[in-house]
Symmetry: C2
Subunit: 301 residues, 2 copies
DNA sequence: AATTATACATTACTTTTTCTAATCTTAATA
DNA sequence: TATTAAGATTAGAAAAAGTAATGTATAATT
């Protein structure tokens, strides 16, 4: 039952001509010349083996066959148009799935979402928490927030923040612990580490302490767990500027030294490059860029 | 509100691929290569600015967008297919309008129609009586029976009968009139003429009577009126073989001499050449050809 | 009655789209 | 590890669609 259809372009030309009862006006509508419509319809009539129009000199009439065909074609084209219309609508409204790392979601994104929803009530944002980079060809995510070196192929990435790394501890620990005058004093505190990532040497190097043996202490798999531990007063850890803005601002975390190391990786909003121009994707990208800019200015990043 | 649609061919490729969930199988269905489908869909996705399929290596899935689009396209293409289907049906069944001269309709065609209806109950034959040759570009007639020299441009014509012309009179006139031994004896009868056409000289010439002054008598505009007059015993006229078969066969008209003149014109079934192959037209053409052949054999032409 | 204007048809190309063959890529399967 | 089964890619060929210019027929106008 594979459908047997004549040239679809010819059918479209027929429909326009039948609707306007004029090849010339149909041509205008289709942005082609009258000759093009004339050709298409002649071709179609040949393929079908029947006349669709009666050409009287000033007037065009549908033959019986044309009258039969016309409503089918109009309805079919209308239906196609509404399908396309629905898709366009879909690019504008409805669900937008953003894939992020858990740490970003928890500490940065989720608290700000109410804001996004207020600005874009037509977009129903849903988060997908994934440990590892999205593959837009596979996953159903429309966009992602990624932490990495940038320059990924096939995606358009907008940097939202560089990441600064510096020691943080809880105010209570700072108070009851040994005095913290000099970076070396940090070694008197328990140092908490993040699995797989360790930048303590880099940070000490940045403050001129090159020959330090950094003791291992407890460690956690994700930076937000590390921060939980720090806020519980369990020790000192390296905090990532992008993720702990609110904790610093509220005083739940204290930054004893201004010195920081800029991480090689940054945070990016990414979307498949073919989707970069679509309204929903642009809305989210613009929102997040603006949001980080405001956050940076108010020291709340 | 002129509809804004992407390439219809690409939409068709999409629909097939979405239905079979395979570019390869869609390609088979559309009688093209897999590469063609791949191109079309890539192109379509670019135009729409969204992915329609998720390509996993062995498996193809519709994205949300694809799922939205799919039923619209399926329904639209189905609708187009049913329009075309209806047209094909129309070429096979339903009304067939045949244009003829009144004389042919009355004396030849109408009496045989019951026969055609029996053979082709699916065709609803309707006659259109027209004095002058049909123009298929104008009139709604699908076919015609024409009397003429043949070789018309743009139409396919099948000769159904040559026309023989010979004198006829009513049996009662033959009986009560002067004896008819020799062609010249005809001059003792009133000769009835047909307006515009006069072949008496030709006929006399055919029987070797070259130097005859043919007297004018009464005349009528159409040959069937002439024949009415002859059957009413009003005189002798030249009868046309094609039209008076039944009258001769039943004895209502008598043919006193075997000699006849073959007319320059013949009878043809004609149809616009683009329609010549269609089932209804072929059915009528075949029927009429067969019918005249039978009539010629049984002497009933 | 002649002239003008309108609308589709035709012709000879040109341009665009579509398709193909060959080859590549990726990952599931043997 | 090799094989196989999709789809993707590339470069070029083929087919379809479109154009400009002109032709034709005839209704409308002058």
């Amino acid at each position: 039952m594979p459908r047997q259809l004549p040239s679809l372009n010819a059918l479209r030309a027929f429909e326009a001509a039948a609707r306007r009862l004029s090849f010339t006006r149909a041509a205008d509508e289709l942005f082609v010349t009258q000759a093009a419509v004339s050709h298409q319809i002649k071709h179609l009539e040949e393929q079908l083996g029947m006349q669709l129009f009666r050409r009287m000199n000033r007037q065009l009439q549908l033959t019986d066959a044309g009258q039969i065909l016309m409503p089918f074609m109009s309805d079919a084209l209308d239906m196609m148009a509404s399908g396309i219309e629905r898709l366009n609508h879909e690019q504008r409204e409805g669900r937008l799935t953003v894939s992020t790392l858990e740490s970003i979601a928890a500490s940065w994104l989720v608290p700000r979402l109410r804001n996004f929803r207020a600005q874009h009530p037509e977009i129903e944002l849903s988060l997908e928490i994934a440990d590892h980079p999205v593959d837009f060809d596979r996953d159903k995510a429309d966009m992602a927030i990624r932490y990495g070196p940038g320059g990924w192929p096939g995606v358009s990435a907008t940097k939202i923040a560089d990441e600064e790394i510096f020691p943080v501890l809880s105010p209570s620990l700072l108070e009851k612990g040994p005095p913290l005058k000099h970076p070396r004093d940090l070694l008197k505190f328990p140092l908490i580490h993040e699995d797989m990532v360790d930048r303590w040497e880099d940070w000490f190097e940045a403050v001129g302490e090159t020959a330090i043996e950094v003791p291992r202490g407890s460690s956690f798999p994700h930076s937000n767990l590390v921060m939980q531990a720090v806020m519980a007063g369990e020790g000192v850890a390296l905090g990532r500027s992008f993720l702990i803005g609110p904790e610093i601002a509220s005083g739940r975390l204290v930054r004893p030294f201004a010195a920081s190391v800029t991480a090689a990786f940054s945070f990016y909003v990414v979307a498949p490059s073919w989707a970069q121009e679509t309204p929903k994707v642009q809305a989210f990208t613009n929102w997040i860029v603006e949001e980080t800019r405001v956050a940076a200015r108010t020291g709340d990043s």
